[in-house]
């Protein structure tokens, strides 16, 4: 199934400076009881966003009226913990297309890429530059250009790294299953040779 293509995104951003935001915080386990991929946005950051009675917590960035946009800017080690892809689904369903952080947990990074959600890794220093810029002007526009691998904040440009194969997949909306289905003969040959 093709994933949604990612080429260029221009948007304001929502800041979430906390570090080690694990996938249990992104999507608590009690909301994993679903058999489809849709509708998780409602539960995104559920226990940080709402109190136990379901009232929005006014200080949480997603509830603050000045912040909006399709980019989440998060503190170091975003997405650690559980392998639940539901965390990536929740971010996408809520409307995010990219997460900028100084460090991503491995499984989360893969899950994000598999759902057309671009994880953009920047230096700790540049992450702070972005946080400060949003702090000064919550409506500040951030441009993410995947083809050129750059983040633009006004005149300021940051070049980010991404695996060239993953980049092509995202730019073209290719998914792994389609790619691997094309290799079935090779996979069969591998099985014969390794006696599996």
């Amino acid at each position: 199934m093709p994933i949604e293509k990612f080429t260029r995104l221009v948007s304001s951003a929502v800041p979430l400076p906390a570090e080690n935001v694990d996938t249990d915080q992104i999507l608590p386990a009690r909301f994993l009881k679903a058999v489809t991929r849709e509708g998780f946005g409602e539960y995104l950051f559920r226990d940080l966003r709402f109190d136990s009675a379901g009232n929005p917590l006014p200080d949480f960035p997603l509830n603050r009226p000045e912040y909006a946009g399709r980019i989440l800017v998060a503190g170091r080690n975003f997405g650690s913990g559980s392998s639940r892809e539901h965390a990536a689904w929740a971010l996408v369903d809520y409307g995010f297309r990219a997460v900028i952080s100084s460090f991503f947990a491995d499984i989360f990074r893969n899950n994000a890429l598999n759902n057309g959600l671009l994880p953009v890794q920047v230096s700790e220093q540049y992450l702070n530059v972005i946080f400060l810029a949003i702090d000064r002007d919550p409506k500040v526009r951030i441009t993410i250009d995947l083809e050129k691998q750059k983040v633009m904040l006004g005149e300021d440009i940051y070049w980010f790294e991404i695996n060239p194969f993953r980049k092509q997949c995202l730019l073209n909306g290719w998914d792994d299953v389609d790619y691997l289905l094309g290799l079935q003969n090779e996979i069969r040959k591998y099985e014969e040779n390794s006696n599996t």
Binding site: V35, G81, S83, N114, V177, L180, L183, E186
Partner: protein
Amino acid sequence: MKEPKTLFDKIWDSHVVRRIEQGPDVLYIDLHLVHEVTSPQAFAGLAERGLKVFRPCKTVATADHNVPTVNQEQPMTDPLSRKQVDQLTRNTREHGIRFFGPGHPFQGVVHVMGPELGLTQPGMTVVCGDSHTSTHGAFGTVAFGIGTTEVETVLATQCLLQNRPEKMRINLEGKPGIGVTAKDIALYLLSVLSASGATQHFIEYAGETVLTLTMEERMTLCNMSIEMGARGGLIAPDEVTFEYLKGREFSPSEEDWNDRLTGWKKLFTDPGAKFNREYRFDISALDPMITYGTNPGMGIKLTGRIPTPDTVPGNHLNGFKHALQYMGFEPGQPVLGRKIDYVFVGSCTNGRISDLRAFASLVKGRKKAPGVTAWIVPGSQQVEKQARKEGIDRILKEAGFELRQPGCSACLAMNDDKVPPGKYCLSTSNRNFRGRQGPGSRTLLASPLTAAASAVTGVITDPRELM
């Protein structure tokens, strides 16, 4: 002369179907474990593509994450959980996949079930839609957790596109003291290397200490690798491994055994092989460990004090303060003697028979403290059966505890085993994240021995005092 290779590279290289230039490797998967929570969307994706499972014999399924730990014989009362288990029942039947569902004698927490049945064997690549798949590395496998899209990919093609991780070796030396378990070693490594210290790495645990660990202890150690951010952790197979595997349900038959053994004995890191990072720890002076914060890297000696802000690096200060606030702790406080409300023994980290034996050995002849709610949850039907056979259920009963039925239970609180807001739970599981054991729950991670000592006193207690 051949370039010396790490154990990890030996296994990885023998599973590469194709190398993509500047891209990931196409990696063949030998064993795919599946459970009810992260698989429904993968099977649905397969159906949408009009595909069947490519190699059904290489996938094994069980139900563990959302199952109740009482009255498992009866239909599940939670309709959403029941739907997930029903869906897995249908999906496995349709695709001809082995399924150890509720009530099956092999049902259990997926990472307890695989090894105890001999499904996990040295040299394999093992994946599961669960981060604690790292557990299987104890057998000298490349085992790692994957997301649901990747579950679908493996079902469809028996392969994954994976970037080769970096390699880290952790050498452990010295004999752990009395009351110090594999869990304490894992919590100690986490406290030093942090909850992200091994990200993008695959860890090999080596050194004289590792050689002396039982398979169940090795599983506990490898299980927690993911908590350091590692893709996985593995240990070279040896006589301990081979002995463990002999005669298990899915272990090689007697006639194949010697052939397989010859192959397994080649699974070690060659002298001189290079690692990207290497550490050495002497654990002979280690004390039992406990966590005080909201990630597993926030651990201290059980006899120690909660850190003070001046010892926390500046960039972590905010997280530290929030964690203490969430936990209701003050900097500099000791943890010993603090009241606890709940005790959870179980999970893929510490839900095996040796963990139940350890817990039972300390509560035997004592009584559960009033005011403590305890959930003692075996990791599998087999573990439960063995515990009953050994009379552990009776020891627990006499001490005021109850042996429940197998499942993931309060480790992630998807079933009814939830810790209420603000309550403290001393837990033998693997994560102390905010709300992990129920919204507002406060988790302290420790070993089954520490859990036992604290369960009978009602306060955090050093197990060595009761030994």
